[in-house]
Amino acid sequence: MNLDDVIALASARTPSHLDRARTRRAARQVLDAYARTAADGRDPLGDLDAGDVLGPQADEAGRITRAAQSARAGWLRWDRATGRLTWSDAMSQTFGYPAVTPVITVDVLAAGVHPEDFAEAEAAVRRGWRDRVPVELTVRVVRPDGALRYAHCLVELLSDDGLTPTGIVATVHDITRRELDRQEHDRRRRRERMAPHRPPAADAPPALMTRAGFADAVDLAAHAGTGAVLVMSLEPVGGAEPEAGALERAVTPVLGGAGDARGSLGMFEFAVLFRDPAAAAPAAAELQRRLGTVTVGGARLRASAGLVPLAGPDRPSGHDVLLDGEWAAAEAHRRRVPLHSLPGPRPAARRERAVRDRIDAAVRGGQLCLYAQPILDLALHEVTRHEILLRVRRPGRTAPELPAAFLAAAERGDGIVTVDRWVIDRSLALIGQGPQTSQFQINISGRTLSHPGTAAYVLDALRRHDVDPRRITFEITESLVITNGTAAAEFAAAVTAVGCELALDDFGTGYSSLGVLRALPIGLLKIDGGFVAGLSGSPADRAIVSSLAGMSRALGVRTAAEAAEDPATVELLRDLGVDFAQGYAIGRPHPFAASPAADLTAGPELGRATG
């Protein structure tokens, strides 16, 4: 079938019995309604124009303008012979003129129509005149009081003989409301496309909370005055060292819905919050038994657990309780018992000493090591930068792990300054021994930034190790910058003065603020991986990354994207105008050696074909 067949079939309709009955009923209803309105003396026509539309008419223009008036629309008429432009009273009022200005000039229109629309409308009308076709267009009319109206115009050619055009008449409807509806409709659709509501899969176990989120949950429970926190430190026995993601994926379903909240504290540490402290110990035994049955990458898991009841006179913060739990779990491991229960949170002094001891042991005992991850310059398609990352090698374990738990502990006291100084000194030492052909990005914590003497320490280290300051970028995190505004500004001024670059890390999450870009001499913006990982599947992420890149370009700031995990994402980042990409698609972190020349000049892991 095609259009003509459908039309032919539709016109073959003959009224059925039912149709005829319905028509008779409808006719009766109209006559009844008419009898009622006549009895009431009402006029069912209202202000309807009741003239004979097909009756003898004056000229075409008069007929059309009269039809416009009866449809409560405005009209505008141009006569070719006289060159006169006339319009209706309604139009005159819309444009802010007294109703007694029937003859106008084009300038009047140009003054009232939005300048962006006027040129376009004029061109469209000229085209219509040339091609002898009617034109429909919508323009914005700016009224003298500044109010904006949307006007739909049907621009028609007048012709006495049906051939030669003698003028133009435009019928103008105010469609502001309809236009706003349409815009709102478009906006909603765009919003739906950008933020699709995806309910989580019904059978997926609830995701684990982050360390910070879990600490907040513990804070709330501690405030209520009751509960217990179970921290489990997992040790893979036999088999290969599992990856961080693999371990979490294996543990999440085991934790399932245990307790009232579940979090992942570090690479090997997981925690469960119980609002009812009595439920904690039996649940701990059951969880340990079930974790004992799990294998990850061929390795079985042995869990040492620490239990901290939220009781006692001083109310510690959630972070402190987690540190106590981790200490208790380590204690259980040391004593070779499955569970070590504390009577309550530890006294602050002992907790701080434990943290300090652990950090000292790590720094002096050679447990810290540095990795470097390549960063691709998307314009050159060449690795020109490396981010230096800290890893912690736990005694008895082969693979160094992510330092999340370690740094969380260090951040609680001044221990982090010791760690950061070690990282700065060690990094610069290694860089100084190498060819210094790459740009190196070193992370520095907010607490270290605000620590007096950090800038002096950095400048001294640069001199000592004979490192070109222009090769060094310091990455700072926004949340910390904000709490240390003045200190951050002082540090930034000191290191940028000698040629170092400042980068803003994890931009777009947490306590993001655009104000930082104005306040500090930031040279590089690192877009948080959360916006990058799902880039190819998310129009919303694309819009955000593209806008961040555009804004940064305008500010003279370069952009880098974290978590670029596949070649398609890298290509997309290049198209969106991002300057650098970092992630598994470019290269995984590798141990940062003293003579890294071979490592650093190696190309990105993704194929050249993508460039």
Partner: protein
Amino acid sequence: MRVVGSAAADGDETAETLREAALDATFSGFFTRHHAAVERYLHRLEADRGMVEDVTQEAFLAVRAKWADVQHYTDPRAWAMAVARNMLRDEQKRRGRTPALFFDDIGMPEVPAPADPAEAEDLLASWIQLLPPRMGEVFSLSLDGMADRAIALTLGISHNTVREYKVEARRKLKHLAEADGFTTPAGRRRR
């Protein structure tokens, strides 16, 4: 109590009643002949069947009120169409809805071939509803066999516009039909 049982007044009343009865009768004939066409016309401009039925009744009520004059018009049906259309557009404006659906609201389900004239009419109406409002009006009236001049007068637009819109509407409808899979001429199965 009526004091004077005036024969003249009684006569006037009777004459009035007879006149109204005669108008009712001719109007009923007009209604039966054209009700379906007016309703069909409105349905091609508005997808909401309830609104179409209400406006059709309201339009015929107006026709009945003016029937004494309208019955002598050149084309009473064209007048009824014009009244119905103005009322529909007013109602659409009042309800704050756009006269036509939005193109991107339309999903892409498989559209089955119509099996009878009623289904064909519905399918056709669904396409015409997607045309720009004025174009849909022109095409719909021309489908009902109205002459170009009458369409121009009914809609209050120029002859030139009617001619151009008839061609343009058919071109757009063809695209819409093809988008729904109606491409092959009759006699062959679709796809």
